[in-house]
């Protein structure tokens, strides 16, 4: 800490920061545009001007740009004197000469950094009498809206899109007053992080399109701290609700995980909660029913064995309640054999090694990605890995006495100072293309090379002969040995447990300096893994039990086609099935109980690190919906099980902690905690929004025991250690940039302790994993299909969001040119595998290993085969029919979107109020 003087007052600030960041962390108001805590400074906007004085006697001073100036001991500056204030006002005035008169019809209005900064500088009237420049806008896809007139040329968008996220199709064009930020031609922005532009842009050039279509001002939205449901990273998000429907997801700062950015699957995928497919009604034998109906009660109280099938997409509490209800020996996770062995192994590894947070990932100086399609399975993690690639360059500029936040300098030396990225695997992706060392291989090969690499690193054989190591593996060993903070990345996407074992061995071989991250498939996969520690019914014995005796199935919902196919076969054999359904009304179960989505009730999930994170509801459940655990408690009452004694979520969590002591402290439950208002202080329309239905205002809603109130009652959002803030706001800072005022330092040299509870106790002493025979690939004829994912398409839940569904690609099959020639296929052709009905489009890629083909199948289709022998090519009429089918699918999407829009607008006008709370 060093001492500086601002306006004659002395302050302690962190050494090495720039002056702007220091001022903001001291909660001083200093306007800026181009600076961003995670993107560093370039000094483009000239807005953060302050006056610097030589010494105490200097009255004159000179104007400097705060974001470009490192703080120095004893430095004297002023931020409130007239000369710098006028300077800043002039800068704003110049920017505003061409800013359109758009605020009332701009989706950024009310949370616009430009509005805030204009008010802050005091500029209020446009003096310039000339004409305003205008630009034509571009179509940038279903996620972002472009309105170029509003640009103030701070360059943040291209710096984020190109430099930070590695996108290539957005650029700065033209010159002087005509600078234009856009694509070469109209088209969908290719980066899966493009949605962040809506938050990065200080004004309304890029705005959230789905949100804009069903828009509400920030001050009008009831927000809740939430956790993303679309991958195992568990990014922290803020959900916003208005008139009973969830409007959007924004980033909620978490220094250890997502920081300031989300991926587009997380940002736009939430929309499944507004889907017309949502279950809203209790159904019995596919007909709407009432809870009291005899037929339903008969189904629910049926005698005999009840088997519960958990869900890695449901919350920890729901799964635990199910486990309690049916007993741990009747609790089966929603996994097949292969996935169960992956889960087993993943659990073991988590008990041996801690997993790196994204902040730790960003600090790595060498990265090994072992057979994992990380771009798809955890996009935000891939973005963090991208940031690690800057570390050598940053170290280099610091040796030259240039601070690491001088972004332009860092980018300058980047080509000569790369961080080695080692890629063992297949498929093309963003990270693969920036890899320094690549080995093209299938998952078996990758795993064996991983074992061999571990052998090379520790000097003796670990399961696999070191002599198997290939050229690239030997190079990798050298790189990893030299690195001071090597990082190992793996995951489930190849479906091969050997990869996880290889990673664990590498981690042991490299020792404490290394860190590791393994991506799980769903946001709560590891929650199931925690519950399975007490024992469970395996997938194989589930099939046996069903064949042996008539059982009742109790199923937590899951949204993927392959799972549904499996469920359908189980249901046929079961005596009867009760589904706690989230999506899909038309189905064959005996009873369907509609459950509340994550936006409507509290819940927790265990992320890839094994950390428990919980979310709060942004709205109330409508229709017959109840949280899953609550349905299970009602069932327990019917079946007279001990779970029936649970009255609220707090008690359920108490039981959970009693059974799994490592979860102690995972939930903040301080009765003295002051209430936190989920509605902003300027929330409007309170006395009118329901007035067309009733002039009586209903009582504000709050979950029992939670400090969050769905009203304006309670504290304003402030930075709190224990309780997440529903939305970010600071007086005078209405945009999400108010977050920047809270940080002392963003991912600085010292990382703070992560404050969440780890659900896996590290009690096992790490040992070597031996190679198991079942991991070796079996001999097969034909081609092995390796499955690849897509950010938009592989996650079933997010496909219910229309914007994501529009971006979802059709099933694809990639092969090398020589393979295509051998099979007589041409790119663009449609083929079927071994007579299965699914059509795949042929693509050519260099990243296909020997004897393998790469396949991508969207989550709403299923391709059960792993090996394929022959392909049937679609003839011309068939191909045309497919095209036609796809076009009509897109048209359907469009119509659905319009119908959904109309339904939501109608719902805004007639908010579904549930006067009677739940079923008792």
């Amino acid at each position: 800490m060093i001492k500086i003087f601002i306006d004659g007052q002395d302050y302690k600030v962190i050494e090495g920061q720039n002056l702007l960041q220091a001022c903001l962390s001291l909660k001083l108001n200093l306007p800026y545009f181009c600076w961003h805590p995670s993107m560093g400074s370039v000094g483009a906007c000239r807005q953060c001007a302050v006056t610097r004085y030589e010494d105490e006697d200097d009255r004159q001073g000179k104007i400097i740009i705060a974001c470009m100036t490192p703080v120095e001991e004893g430095m004297r500056v002023s931020v409130k004197q007239s000369q710098e204030s006028e300077f800043r006002e002039q800068i704003i005035a110049a920017m505003m000469t061409h800013h359109p008169h758009d605020c009332p019809v701009c989706a950024e209005g009310g949370e616009c950094h430009l509005q805030d900064m204009t008010v802050m500088t005091g500029h209020y009237a446009r003096q310039f009498k000339g004409r305003k420049t205008s630009f034509n806008n571009q179509y940038l896809g279903p996620l972002l809206k472009h309105e170029m007139n509003r640009c103030i040329t701070c360059y943040r968008c291209v710096r984020f899109y190109r430099d930070y996220a590695g996108g290539e199709d957005l650029s700065a064009q033209a010159s002087k007053n005509h600078v234009y930020f856009g694509r070469q031609t109209d088209g969908v922005l290719q980066s899966e992080f493009a949605g962040n532009l809506a938050e990065v842009c200080p004004t309304g050039v890029f705005t959230d399109k789905p949100f804009g279509n069903h828009y509400s001002r920030k001050w009008d939205m009831q927000a809740a701290p939430s956790v993303c449901q679309h991958c195992s990273v568990g990014c922290n998000t803020s959900l916003s609700e208005r008139y009973g429907s969830v409007r959007r997801v924004t980033n909620r700062f978490n220094a250890h995980l997502n920081g300031y950015f989300l991926c587009d699957r997380g940002r736009y995928g939430f929309d499944f909660v507004n889907s017309p497919q949502r279950c809203q009604q209790i159904r019995s034998s596919n007909k709407p029913a009432q809870w009291q109906d005899d037929s339903l009660q008969r189904v629910l109280s049926a005698p005999g064995r009840w088997i519960g099938i958990g869900s890695s997409q449901a919350s920890l509490e729901d799964n635990f309640a199910l486990q309690q209800l049916v007993g741990k020996d009747n609790f089966c996770p929603d996994l097949d054999d292969k996935q169960q062995s992956l889960m087993q192994l993943h659990g073991e590894i988590l008990q041996q090694y801690p997993m790196a947070s994204l902040a730790e990932i960003e600090r790595a100086d060498a990265v090994l990605i072992l057979g994992e399609d990380i771009n798809c399975s955890a996009p935000r993690m891939a973005l963090a890995i991208r940031q690690a690639l800057l570390n050598k360059a940053r170290d280099k500029v610091e040796t030259l006495n240039v601070p690491g936040w001088q972004d332009a300098a860092v980018r300058n030396v980047l080509p000569d100072n790369p961080v080695p990225l080692i890629w063992f695997g297949y498929g093309e992706s963003e990270l693969q293309s920036s890899a320094q060392l690549q080995l093209l291989c299938d998952d078996h090969q990758a795993a064996r090379q991983g074992f061999a690499l571990a052998g090379l690193l520790c000097g003796h054989n670990v399961g696999v002969e070191v002599s198997e190591a290939q050229q690239q593996t030997r190079q990798a060993a050298g790189i990893l040995q030299k690195a001071s903070r090597p990082l190992l990345i793996g995951g489930w996407s190849a479906g091969n447990p050997a990869l996880l074992a290889a990673l664990a061995n590498l981690r042991k071989a490299l020792g404490e300096k290394a860190s590791m991250a393994i991506a799980a498939p769903e946001h709560n996969s590891l929650g199931l893994s925690v519950l399975m520690q007490k024992g469970h019914l395996s997938a194989a014995s589930l099939e046996q039990s069903i064949d042996r005796e008539p059982v009742n199935l109790l199923v937590l919902d899951y949204k993927s086609q392959s799972w549904r196919t499996r469920m359908a076969s189980l249901m046929e054999k079961a005596k009867q099935t009760v589904r706690l359904g989230l999506l899909g009304n038309e189905s064959a179960e005996e009873a369907l109980l509609p459950v509340a989505a994550f936006s409507e009730c509290s819940g927790s999930a265990v992320n890839y690190q094994g950390r428990v994170q919980y979310w709060q509801p942004a709205s109330k459940a409508s229709g017959d919906c109840l949280p899953g655990w609550q349905w299970l408690v009602h069932l327990a009452k019917i079946q007279q099980k001990s779970l029936a004694e649970v009255e609220d979520l707090g008690q359920l969590r108490q039981r959970l902690m009693a059974d799994y002591p490592q979860l102690e402290g995972a939930w903040e439950n301080d009765p003295r905690q002051q209430a936190i208002a989920q509605q902003p202080p300027r929330y409007s329309g309170r006395t009118a929004m329901l007035a067309n239905q009733t002039v009586h205002e209903p009582k504000p809603y709050a979950e029992p025991q939670a400090p969050y109130r769905q009203s304006m009652e309670g504290g304003e959002p402030r930075h709190s250690e224990t309780h997440a803030q529903p939305y970010s706001w600071w007086p005078g800072w209405n945009s999400n940039q108010s977050m920047h005022k809270f940080q002392q330092e963003y991912r600085g040299p010292e990382l703070e302790q992560q404050h969440s509870t780890v659900a896996f106790a590290h009690f096992q002493s790490p040992g070597w994993f031996k190679w198991r025979n079942q991991w070796s690939g079996s001999k097969h004829r034909g081609y092995r299909l390796l499955f690849l994912g897509q950010v938009f398409g592989s996650d079933g839940l997010s496909l219910e969001a229309p914007a994501i569904a529009e971006l979802c690609e059709r099933a694809q099959l990639w092969m090398r040119q020589d393979q295509a020639d051998g099979l007589g296929l041409k790119p663009g052709q449609w083929v079927q595998c071994d007579g299965l009905p699914l059509w795949l489009q042929v693509g050519i890629s260099k990243q296909v290993p020997q004897n393998c083909l790469l396949a991508y199948v969207p989550a709403d289709e299923a391709l059960p085969f792993k090996v394929c022998e022959h392909f049937d090519v679609a003839d011309l009429p068939q191909a045309e029919a497919l095209e036609k089918q796809y076009r009509s699918h897109l048209d359907d999407l469009k119509t659905n979107m319009q119908m959904r829009q109309a339904r939501l607008l109608h719902q805004d006008e007639f908010i579904p109020i549930r006067f009677v709370e739940g079923v008792n």
Binding site: P100, H101, D102, C103, P104, V105, C106, G109, G110, G130, R131, K132, T133, S134, F135, N136, N137, E147, N149, R150, Q173, A174, S175, K176, N177, H178, Y180, G182, G212, N213, Y215, S216, R217, W219, D220, Y243, R682, Y683, S684, G685, R686, T687, A688, M689, A691, N692, V695, L905, D908, E909
Partner: protein, 171 residues
């Protein structure tokens, strides 16, 4: 003590002063055009709704009695999908009119809107919208704004240049 007595005397003298109140409703007082009474939504010179659903009136309302939802039509204009004022809560303070950036919402001198049923005081858009321009004739927000709507492409607003050709690097 003396001042109290004087006060008593002065108040007493009011017994003989003329009354300020009138016998409403038989006699009606004059209300100026800018009197703050019933709220209306006006139209712009083209006859289209002026309201752009910016929500500023709702946020300015101290009793939160205005609620609306924005929707966007094919012609690019922002409109309220519904616009509701709960007059049983309204205090006729006029802050909504001050906040309105498009002169859409205006207060009128009509104050006679009592009802036996509170529900009848909930006014929807169709009850609020009038056919004229109200107190501010001639103003059209979209002539000033930068966004393009049907019938007004980029660069056609007041005080606006034609759209820039980004391929042109000439000075």
């Amino acid at each position: 003590m003396w001042s109290q007595l004087v006060t008593i005397w002065r108040v007493f003298r009011h017994l003989f002063a003329a009354r300020d109140t009138v016998r409403y409703p038989e006699q009606k007082p004059y209300l100026s055009p800018r009197y703050r009474g019933r709220i209306v939504l006006t139209r712009d010179p083209d006859g289209d709704e002026r309201c752009v659903a910016c929500n500023l009136c709702a946020v300015a309302c101290p009793v939160d009695c205005i609620s609306l939802q924005k929707t966007e039509d094919d012609d690019g204009r922002w409109r309220p999908a519904f616009f509701r004022i709960n007059f049983s809560r309204c205090i006729m303070c006029g802050l909504c009119e001050e906040a309105c950036p498009t002169y859409a919402i205006q207060l009128t001198p009509d104050v006679e809107m009592s009802e036996y049923d509170r529900n009848s005081l909930v006014y929807e858009k169709e009850h609020l919208t009038i056919d004229g321009q109200g107190k501010y004739p001639g103003y059209s927000f979209y002539r000033k704004a930068g966004i393009s709507i049907k019938g007004k492409a980029k660069g056609e607003a007041d005080q606006e240049e034609k759209p820039v050709d980004v391929r042109n690097l000439l000075p």
